[in-house]
Amino acid sequence: MSSKATQQPLGLRIVIYAFIGIWLVMAAFPFLWTLWGSFKVELDFFSITNWKDALFGPRTQATYGSSLTGAGYEGAWIQEEFWRAVLNTFIVCFFVVCTSLTIGTLGGYALSRSGFKYTFWLLIIALIFRAMPPITLVSGYLLPFFEWNLWGILPTSIIVLVAINQPFTLWMLHSFFQKIPKELDESAKVDGCTQFQAFRHVIIPVMWPGVITTGLFSFLLAYNDFAVTAMLLSKENQTMVPKIASFLGTTQTEGNVMFAVAAVVSATVPLFILVMFFQRQIVSGLTAGAVKG
């Protein structure tokens, strides 16, 4: 839609391009800089003499004979066993997404199809639960989990993350299911299906766009969590984010900050890929709750 009337004058267009350009640099530059810097030695990435060292890496050249080195990655992944944390993270994320989607779709579907007043109150309670900072709940878990010997293992964290995820999942799936016409499953019930059969044969085939979007956000929540996993997992079972946090304590003294930098870059890569492939779903998910209300 670019008619003559909506065309911007040149000056305004330059201002807009400059502003968006500055924002893009702010948003992307830190990631690119850290990615590039993770292949250098510490004295180049944190250079006292000249900031350009991080670009060209004279000390990396002197130490390893080339201006790029994978030493940070080798140290983090092999020496500090970061691969274990990566594995744990993907186990946790996989089970969190599967479980929370399974019970979330059932619950969200029920909420969208029941016209009684208690559905409203259930959604309100979910909203209140959504607002609870996870760390306040964690202080309630610790004592019972110690008592029952549940502390430190992956299944406990998975269940806790699923529960913390539920309020958000319910709200999102509820609004997606409301967009699916009620006539669809009602006609199936007229044809003799039970409610569950109607759900199984009529709703499940058409619900995937909403479920995939919700699944993405469940994944992000599990992947990005720090409070729960840092507190509920023992040292051997740590996932990536608490592992990186514990790197900071040990490596700063040993002068191995580059291990942490390499680990940070490794943990960012999956998110990059996720945004690249699912940008449309993420945008639609963020706006799903907002635009309609």
Binding site: F19, S47, V138, Q166, T268, A290
Partner: protein, 341 residues
């Protein structure tokens, strides 16, 4: 849907939320009323050739047995809430009665851990939220006027600061603003002060944390506003144009009123999320200059001595804070629901 069918569909998710959200809240409230057992002391009288001496030692077995029998500790009532680490009633009263000026009273208040954290948390929440809304709106209006091939690319890069793990995002910025990092050197160069360090002063640390907060959350506001701009009524915009409204007037009188409900939505969500600010303090290693309520809880829970009761009391106070912030949302939802039926 019948009640019974609803029940079976809803049961799994209800159980999960009941067991792992509702019960922990109750458990936190109970825990905050108890305090750890004191060690059981054993007094033994040793009589030697030079007279008798009484010795006091900790009876490890009895202490362990007591801990096993009553893991919660002994009942303490509200005393944990009132102690120095939390509401610090005695200290506040002393400050109030000994005050010379109101400013002096608040300065004294800032030395108490709970009020210090509260001060930062509230400042952070109420500075970052308006700024990120303004920035997000500006980006949305800017991106909306770009060529459509560029839009996808810009949205991709704009999403990154929001999608990235908060701890990782703050670490990335932390390394860059290090006095040996690229931004740190740039700031030293601009300020013409080779010893300037963003980590050394409280004011600069606060500014850094808030810049991070805006950087992290502005994309959310941007995406929501951008989606809102797609539903902008073109007729209204055109008639405003025909009536001779300037570009600024179009934004002021057509675009902003259209987006107003979204602004409220973003503001409410972000108020709740910024109130729990926590990861950046860990990432920026800023606890010497800024602490938040969530950070206090984390700090109490971590380490060798897990101060469960103290953490529980702070948790309850945080939950009360969240409830106060949340009440406008609840009122709004309630009104929407009544309007619909």
């Amino acid at each position: 849907m019948k009640h019974k069918t609803f029940f079976w569909f809803f049961l799994p998710t209800a159980l999960a939320m009941l067991l792992f959200i509702a019960f922990p809240i109750i458990s936190v409230v109970i825990q905050s009323l108890f305090t750890p057992h004191e060690a059981v002391l054993l007094t033994v009288e040793n009589c030697g050739p030079f007279g008798c001496k009484t010795e006091t030692s900790i009876d490890q077995e009895a202490t362990a047995a007591l801990k096993l029998a009553e893991p919660l500790g002994r009942f303490a009532g509200l005393s944990i809430y009132l102690d120095r680490g939390h509401l610090a009633v005695d200290e506040v009263a002393a400050l109030w009665s000994g005050r010379e000026s109101l400013g002096g009273f608040f300065d004294g208040l800032k030395n108490l851990p709970f009020y210090r954290a509260m001060y930062f948390t509230l400042t952070y929440t109420f500075v970052v939220t308006p700024l990120l809304i303004v920035l997000g709106f500006a980006i949305a209006v800017g991106v909306n006027s770009l060529h459509r091939h560029l839009k996808g690319l810009v949205i991709f890069f704009s999403l990154l600061p929001m999608i990235v793990t908060p701890l990782i995002g703050s670490l990335i910025l932390f390394w860059m603003i290090d006095s040996r990092g690229v931004l740190g050197s740039a700031i030293q160069f601009l300020a013409d002060d080779p010893d300037l360090s963003l980590k050394a002063s409280t004011a600069l640390t606060w500014i850094t944390l808030m810049v991070y907060g805006v950087w992290h959350s502005a994309p959310f506001a941007f995406v929501v506003f951008y989606a809102g701009l797609q539903t902008l009524p073109q007729d209204t915009l055109e008639s405003a144009m025909i009536d001779g409204a300037s570009r600024w007037q179009q934004i002021r009188y057509v675009v902003i009123p259209h987006l107003m409900p979204l602004v409220t939505f973003v503001a409410l969500i972000q108020l709740m999320d910024n109130f729990r600010v926590f990861e950046p303090i860990v990432g920026f290693n800023a606890e010497a200059h800024a602490t938040s309520l969530s950070w206090i809880i984390f700090n109490d829970l971590g380490g060798e001595t897990r101060l469960l009761s103290s953490a529980a009391a702070t948790s309850v106070l945080t939950i009360i804070g969240v409830a106060i912030l949340l009440s406008p949302v609840l009122v709004r939802t309630w009104r929407d629901f009544n309007a619909k039926t």
